[in-house]
Subunit: 209 residues, 3 copies
């Protein structure tokens, strides 16, 4: 299964072009749209959102993640294996919290290059092909990360910011509820129908309204 | 074929998580997004919308329907078989019009329970797994409904309300055109390109502009 | 692969109904949402947008294209084969630029008729079934176009209009950059993260900010 986590938005051609690459290179692999509306151009807020949702998915899931304001610049291109799940995307901190919270991790700098690499759409030209390779069970096409250019040790373990507001009006923070006193977990009850415990599936409850 | 009919909205992770369950439990089954923007938290308006669109689909289609403001409360969880199509979702009236207009129906209270049932996301944890079972051809995992807790006999056969406004500006009501005098079917002609007879495919014309 | 290019919008049932037809008639064929938000009711602007994006896709791709303000009227229904890709949709000029820029083209007036053809949703009832036939490798169900009713020789080779504004705020015009002096290709640099060279993949650069 390949899971998409991007800030491409719901409209327009970008997600479709990535899926066309995936269907051609990994035929028959299910593709799941998780977030197309992750915090735009904000790898930090996105990192906390991704870390909570990713652990719900089964082993061998490949996360194709593109929140990449520095595309075309010096940021590395990364593969992360964390607790048997794969993550492919820019090494701009987007995987920092996944990596920090995982029990076992390995990471690689992507060395594979496509025949044509656009300056601004690595999601389609670089990350999608690599995600397809991993979904096919191939070895990561890179060399082990050594310089830590993708890490962000200065980011906090929990982020006291709203990182996402869902369709029902629930605001999600980057704070895991386990870090809060129980009686402060929610200032007010989510309204009926609100998915107030979604993030409980990750073993931690980080949603505040 | 599994058809999604929800009020989850287009954004965010909820539809993706449900699809991940479906892909794992019923691999290879096509999943169709019919409505992700059914009337939010409004099973009554949604019931009239669903009843018109569902009959266009072939036999054995499984409708996974989640408009569920009472999730986590006392409302039952239901499987309905109506004219050879399956419906899975909350027993809050959402299937009232499908059931009332069908020639043959059977319904079950869902007895199957997942290992983990969140308080607020039965779509992912309960209804999606049951929809997958039905799509695989398994028997409904429940016992025949007897108490009528899912029925709404007080709801009218036709609802004189706008239940949906589409992308082209066409407003759909819960009134079947067959119930109206012919010269009052439309107060004004839909503009060019409007899909004014979509609901004719259900044998009734219920769209008014 | 079947690629959807429509003005149906992201919401509502229309794209889902078309996909249901495709899944039934061409099982296992990947379906890609390229644009659901092409210029509404504007085949002319859409024609320039389609011409740039289509050439990125591989041979044998079938484009199911519905920008069809004249649905139910006299406009023909068309199949176009252009440089080994297939296009199905209304003959209202939507394929004019694809056809004009291609090296090799053949076109057909669709003669096949469904058992039920709605007055306003040829996308579902006529174009989707024909797209499925082509995706299955069948012969085009029509006769060669002869009268030119689908052509628009008066439309310019490049259209000096904004035809699309993407999620990141980039505005795309119908002008290929090869037609512009190099120093006027962009009045300002797209902001970081903007996909400023997407259309380069078509060999021409037509995006201006």
């Amino acid at each position: 299964m390949i899971v998409l986590f991007t800030d491409f938005g719901l409209r327009g051609p970008y997600t479709g072009q990535m899926k066309a690459v995936l269907h051609q290179m990994a035929p028959g692999t299910p593709i799941i749209d998780l977030f197309a509306d992750a915090p735009v151009g904000n790898p930090k807020a996105s990192a906390y959102l991704l870390a909570v949702y990713a652990t719900w998915f089964p082993a061998k899931t490949v996360f194709l993640c593109v929140i990449d304001p520095g595309v075309g610049g010096a940021r590395p291109a990364i593969i992360l294996e964390a607790d048997s799940r794969w993550y492919v995307g820019p090494g701009n901190g987007l995987f920092e919290l996944v990596q920090r919270r995982a029990r076992e991790t390995r990471s690689w700098d992507i060395e594979w290059k496509p025949a044509h690499l656009s300056a601004s759409f690595h999601g389609r030209d670089l990350f999608a092909p690599v995600a397809a390779m991993l979904a096919r069970g191939e070895q990561p096409p890179g060399r082990p990360c050594e310089d830590g250019a993708d890490r962000r040790p200065d980011w906090p373990d929990d982020l006291c910011e709203i990182v996402y507001v869902d369709h029902f009006g629930n605001a999600m923070t980057g704070v895991r509820a386990a870090e809060l006193p129980p009686n402060k977990a929610c200032r007010s009850r989510p309204r009926a129908g609100a998915r107030e415990d979604l993030q409980r599936s990750a073993g931690r409850r980080s949603l505040l309204v």
